[in-house]
Every structure is written in C-alpha cells, then in structure tokens.
Symmetry: C2
Subunit: 252 residues, 2 copies
C-alpha cells in the first residue's frame, strides 16, 4: 500500500506554499489535504469550541484529495484524522509557510501547530517554512529539499511525540541541511502606535526578532543566517525534569 | 520595593477566577492586571498582526491596577511588558482558569500561553487552573494554595525559560501538592455532528481526554485523580536533543 500523507498549513488551501508542498510529497504516496479555508497565520495551537467547524471538498484526482476547513490548523488535523480519513496517515506535513518559524516562533506558529497535533497523535511529521513573509514569494525551488526530508522521515520514522521544524533561509542557493537546537531569541519593540481620531490606545503588533546567541553554531538561527536549511527536532512533552528534582527542596 | 506581579488569563478580566487570583497574590506585592476584554479559551499562543490591539484602563486602587486588552493572552502579556509597565515584573501569574490545563491541554490553553510568554521573557510564572469548566464555579477556596505557590515561586525563582503549570482537582479537600511530569494522554471522539437544513458538513469540537498511563503516579493526571494539586514544570525550549543525535545517522 502506498504511504498516506496528510498535508495542512496555516496560510490556507490556496497558498503557493501548499501547492509546492503537494508537488514535493506526491511522488512519495497518496496525498490528502485538509487546510484552512483562509489565512490563519499566528494561530498557534488555538482551537474553538464555541462555533461549529465545517469542511468542503475542493477537488480530487488520482492520488490527491483536497478539502478546506473553517477551523484552525490544529482543528484541520483533528478533523482529517477523526472524520475524513479511513486510516491513520504515515506522515503529516505542514507548509511551506511564508515566514520563518525558527527558534521561539514555533510557539506562535499555525504551521508547527499542525505538527504538534500530529506528534500528539504519535504520527511522524515535518513543518516547512521559508524565511520570507511575502505570500507571493517563490517557494518552488524548495520542492526537492522538502521531498528529500519527507522521504527520510518516512523511512526513518520519528520518536513518539517529536516532530521536525524545518526552516529555509531566503537565498538563491541553500548550502546544506543542519540539525539544530532552538536558538534563544526575543521579540523586541513589539508595538507600533496606531493613532485614531476618536481616541483610545491602539497598536499594531510588530517587532524584530533578536538572536541572543548569534555566535552559537548549534542553533537554527545560526544555520539560517549562514544559508543552511535548519531542522529543529521538537518534543510535545516539554516537562522540565530537572526542575521537578529542584522543587523537591521547596516547602510545598 | 514591593514585588511587582503581572496577572493575566484567558477567561477575561471579569472572570471569577481572575478575582480569586488577585486576592491570592495581592498580599505578595503590587498587582498589575492586563487581561483580555472577553473570553479567549483555547487561544493557545495565538497572536494577530492583522488588526490593531487596543487597551482600556478599568480601575486602580492602592497596589492594584486593572487594564483590559482586545488581544489574545500572549498579546496581553506583551502589551503589559512593552507598553504599560514601567519595570519588568518579578512574577507573572495566570488564571485561575475555569477548566483543566493538565497534560497535553497546555498546548491549546490560553492560560499557559500567558506563562509561555512570561518564560520567553525569562520572568518566573505560574499558571493556575481548576478542573471544572463552569465559569460560575467556585474557586475562592483555592486562594490560600495559589498564594502559597506564588510566594514560593517568588522566593525560589525559576530557571530561565521554565514555568509552572498548576492544576487543581475539583474536590472539596485537596490532599496536598505534587510536582509532576506531563501525562501522555489523547483527546478522542472529537467531533459531534451539527446538522443543518441548508446542508454542508458541520461539527462541534468536543471529545474526551484519555489518560494513556493511568497507573503512573508521577503524572499530573494521576495526581489530580487522587485529589492532589499537580504542578508540572514546563520548558519553553522543547528541543529534542536526543533526536538531534539520532539524526546524525540520517542521509541528509
């Protein structure tokens, strides 16, 4: 039986990055797309229980089915797994996102929300993002490298509860692939005033990401700044076991 | 100088749980509240950059200032840190949430989004949740235990990038406090059909949380089922270092 590959994203089923990722993984198996019906950037793992979720069949052809869903990226994955698919997929891929999800950005990302949901179900998964926010930006050159990483993930599998967060630098020629840890970084100057004649306090959320360890060559931000694709393996169980030990001395 | 304590949540500034948490931490320092202007349950670490964020001053009294914000829980914290506060808080607390955020629920939670944002800024923080979804449910009995944990956190500090996820069982008498790891659990039967005469495929997101290791007494779900308050220490850097090593053998 051909592998079954579920694909979602946070830019919506019509995004250019999604089309490129379909092209990348189609040679590897049957592809089932369940993606948001519009942009959901910055959705993180949000879910809603207050309004119903709906889905629509967009189109089908040999080895490819595309559905759109009114929910967030996490809900797209849940819906596909619980309602739309006849069997558990062998791989879940997300992206290609228009914008970097390296370092701490994975906490806000709807792209890594897809892979978080996958890892919570014990399904190997890979999130792909390009460090360029332009939704019309070129991603097609990433097809071979996305396919290569997806193929290796299918072949090797991943430990239960872990996924791969892949981030590409926005360069003509990617030098290679590095497996990295998440860089310590911060967002600074996050609010830009947005004056309004009627008064009130209004701001645009904006800002710059600052790498707190720019010379550390083991991080994802270092790799990208040096024209490498960065793969950061992430666990969905972030328990701080060391702190559990430390807290034995607290007077709880 | 008295400690400065920032408080937020995902149930909104008018929630009963927030009032209880103000009462708990007020004896420990000056309290600054920046909480959503309405419910944001399930918001996770979502942020929006497509609409401006606004805030409103609600009221001030000696040692207490309350602001509401139109953004998500993460944005409430960012706004307080970047725009509203004159100095960095010594502690950030979230809750008391109406509903459990134990085990994998922390991925979807707007309550732990507050503490994630805190930990990303290196500020010690504690998220409090009660295993009862009723927004009018009683939380006032938790004031002393919330105060106790907050006081110990202020005194002992936390490692950079870690926070405490505290979950209370919904019982008359809590037996004690256990420091736990996150239980492996799953949400099952997540979609309930929501038929509509005009047609289409509509569902309510619902489901049951299943503990995959019910007899393991080191987990948060075990502690809560046995009437203990569970403290799960969480890291905001979930890099899988072991998988980085494993992947050295991949043909990347």
């Amino acid at each position: 039986m051909r592998p079954l590959i579920l694909l979602s994203n946070d830019d919506g089923y019509q995004s250019r990055g999604l089309a490129a990722l379909i092209e990348a993984v189609r040679p590897l198996g049957d592809v089932f797309v369940c993606a948001p019906d519009g942009p959901r950037s910055g959705a993180s793992c949000s879910i809603t229980t207050e309004v119903p979720v709906s889905y629509r069949h967009i189109r089908s052809e040999e080895g490819l089915k595309i559905y759109s869903c009114s929910g967030t990226p996490c809900v797209c994955v849940k819906l596909a797994l619980d309602e739309l698919l006849m069997r558990q997929p062998d791989l879940i891929v997300a992206g290609i996102n228009h914008g970097s999800n390296a370092s701490i950005n994975m906490h806000y990302s709807g792209t890594t929300a897809v892979t978080t949901e996958a890892a919570l179900h014990g399904i190997p998964s890979v999130a792909y993002s390009l460090d360029n926010h332009d939704p019309s930006g070129r991603v097609e050159h990433l097809v071979p490298i996305c396919a290569h990483i997806a193929k290796l993930t299918l072949e090797n599998g991943l430990p239960y509860g872990s996924y791969l967060n892949v981030n590409f630098p926005d360069v003509e020629e990617i030098k290679g692939i590095r497996v990295c840890r998440m860089a310590y970084s911060r967002w600074v100057e996050e609010f830009e005033p947005c004056p309004r004649s009627r008064g009130g306090h209004h701001f645009w959320l904006t800002g710059e990401q600052v790498d707190d360890e720019p010379n550390n060559d083991t991080t994802d931000l270092w790799a990208m700044r040096h024209d490498y694709a960065a793969i950061t393996p992430i666990m969905v169980d972030p328990t701080d076991h060391k702190l559990i030990q430390t807290m034995q001395d607290w007077d709880l």
